[in-house]
Each structure stands twice: as structure tokens, then as C-alpha cells.
Symmetry: C2
Subunit: 208 residues, 2 copies
């Protein structure tokens, strides 16, 4: 009974894909682009493998199936967004600057990671892996909480009116997230410039 | 050669569906509900016919295919939104009231026609029938133009600061449209109450 075992090990070794530098991220990058372009159903693992320049077996070496790739894009995008925005707001002083930092960094990350962001916004509600769902929820909650904290600090410090935190944070995230419906990267103005306009509008209000 | 002709007429008459009161609207109502619930691909014309309580032939009497039903929902929703919002704003006086009227009526229509609204927001970009696309675009443009006019009037009358019309109308429509991602009808507060909060926030701004 030792021969089959040996054969199995040998065939596993033969089937092992070549080492791809930064493979996981490259697979996720190309998958996000294909999902954004052709939709989730319109993208096959064969196309993804061809795009990355590896075999389908190499893809399976990193991800058990297409759905896990999809959910990994969502979590990675939220991680990146969270990190990028918190770095940007850390360097600001005062609630107005912090709000502008939050909004422009959010828009900036959206523009720079457009495909992943699109995949994240489309796919968030349809996630199935409970571990990934928990991770994504935690990241989203942290991101929203950071915004709520900026607003709460502004109110506490007297820089902002005693506005409702829920309404304000929801209004701001709606403006930023709805960009996905009309903004196209690389066509003129940067997303962050639109976000700065929104921020100025929110701060000053409409009333003369 | 007269007999086949007669037979054809007779068979057509036999195949003619019974008259359904307000059939077109009933088909669109049920289709919107099914599309919102199970998605476009997940809804068959057989299910739709069963839901309306008619035969598939009866559906085909009104619409050539599923895609036309989908696009008819989009156009009907935009027509209804346009009509509801323009009626509401006509009864207001002054830019602040007009803005509140626009925003609460938009939210109200969204809540009352939730399934159609969902279908409209999901399907708008994927329309194929050029006549329907032109109708939908005209209605959407008219709706947006009505909002821009309210803002422009407010600036001209000195009620609003000299804010940028594009940024302001885009910000307001983003808040209203993003409701589709978090608001569920019939669970507590009305959509119009949230819209009124947004309006108050927009008018007063954040700065103390």
C-alpha cells in the first residue's frame, strides 16, 4: 500500500503550480477587473487564469472557487479603504480638516481601486462565507465609526452645530458611495475634487 | 385559399386572452415585485403570468418579451416620480419649501413604489430599446432639471448662498438615491422623514 501513496505525493508535486510572485493580489486584481467589466456570472475561472497568465490549477491553489475570490476582493477593498482613510485623517487637525480628509481619501481610494470598489458595492449584500461576512462588516463598521467620531468631535468641540450624527454620516457616505453610479476614473476631474466640493457644501450649507 | 384564412382568424380569436382590467399596470406591478425579489434573470414569464393570474399568452398580448416589461417598469416609474414630485413642489412657496417638497416627495414616491424604483435604479444603465432609453433619459433629465431650477431660484433670490448648482443637485440626488441601499419600506420611519432630515442638514450645513 506504499506505492499509491508515493504516486499521490509525486502527482501532487507535478501538479503544483509554479510560484507566482504576489499571486493572491494579482489574481484579485484581475478578477476585480473582469467582474467589473463582464459581471460575476460573465467571468469564468478559465478567463481569469488566462488573464493572470497561469493555469486554472494555479488559481485553485489559492482559492477554492470563484465565490471566494469575489468575497476576498470585497474584504481586501474594505481593508484598503479603511487603512487609506485612517492614514489620511490622522494627519489632519480639527474637525473640518478631518472631515475633508475622510471624504477626499475615501474618494481617492475609490478612484484608485475602482474595479474592486465596484465589486464591493455590488457584491456586499450577497456574501455567503460567514467568516468573510464578519470581516467585511467589522471593516465597514470601523469605517463608518471613524466618520461618526469626526462629526461627534466637531459637535463636542463646538466647530459643528448640534447636528444628528446618524443623518450626517449617512448623508456623507451616500454622496461618496453614489459616485460609483456616475464617476468614471481618468476622465477629467479627480474623484477627490468632487468629494472636496461635497465637503465644502456640507460644511457651509445652502442657506445664505 | 379562403378556408385557411378563416381558420387563422378563428384560431386567433380563440387564442385571444380574456380582457383583464388595467392589465398593463397589473403586469408591470407584479413584474416589478418579482424582479425586485428574485432578480431579472430569476424571474420567468411563466411565474409572472401565474402571479397576475393569466396565461403566458395574455402577457405576450401586452408585451413582446421580458426585456420590454423591464424597460416599461423603468419608464413608468420615472413618469410617476416626475409627476408626483412636480405636483408636490407646485404647492410650495419659496426655495426652502420647494427643496423640502422635492426631497420628501421623491422619498415618498420611492417608498410607495419601492419595487419599481429598485428595478429602475438597477436596470437603467442596461436598457436596450432606443425609444424607451430616450423616454427614460428625458424623464430623468426633467426631474434633475426641476431640482436644479429650485437651487438656481434660491441662489437668484438670495435665499441660498452662491453654491454650485451641479454639486448641490448631485449631492441631493445621491442622498435620495442611495436610500435604496439601506431603507426598507414599512419598518419604522417613513422615507420622507429621512429626506426632511437630509434637507434640514443641507440647508443649515455643519458649521456652527
Amino acid at each position: 500500500m506504499s506505492a499509491p501513496g508515493n504516486t499521490e505525493i509525486k502527482s501532487k508535486r507535478q501538479g503544483r503550480p509554479p510560484i507566482i510572485p504576489d499571486a493572491r493580489n494579482r489574481i484579485l486584481d484581475d478578477a476585480a477587473r473582469l467582474f467589473a467589466q463582464d459581471g460575476y456570472d460573465g467571468t469564468s475561472l478559465g478567463e481569469l487564469a488566462a488573464s493572470v497568465g497561469v493555469t486554472k490549477a494555479a488559481i485553485y491553489h489559492y482559492f477554492p472557487n470563484k465565490k471566494e475570490i469575489y468575497e476576498a476582493i470585497i474584504v481586501r477593498t474594505l481593508e484598503g479603504l479603511r487603512q487609506h482613510v485612517s492614514q489620511a485623517t490622522m494627519q489632519t487637525s480639527g474637525p473640518e480638516e478631518a472631515l475633508a480628509g475622510f471624504m477626499t481619501a475615501h474618494a481617492d481610494f475609490f478612484e484608485e481601486h475602482y474595479d474592486g470598489f465596484l465589486t464591493m458595492l455590488v457584491g456586499y449584500g450577497g456574501m455567503e462565507n460567514v467568516v468573510m461576512i464578519a470581516e467585511a462588516q467589522k471593516l465597514r463598521d470601523d469605517h463608518e465609526q471613524a466618520l461618526r467620531q469626526i462629526i461627534a468631535d466637531g459637535v463636542a468641540q463646538g466647530a459643528f452645530r448640534p447636528i444628528d450624527i446618524d443623518t450626517t454620516s449617512r448623508a456623507i457616505l451616500s454622496m461618496l458611495n453614489w459616485m460609483v453610479r456616475w464617476f468614471k476614473p481618468g476622465k477629467g476631474r479627480r474623484a477627490a475634487a468632487f468629494a472636496q466640493d461635497y465637503c465644502d457644501l456640507m460644511l457651509g450649507g445652502l442657506r445664505s
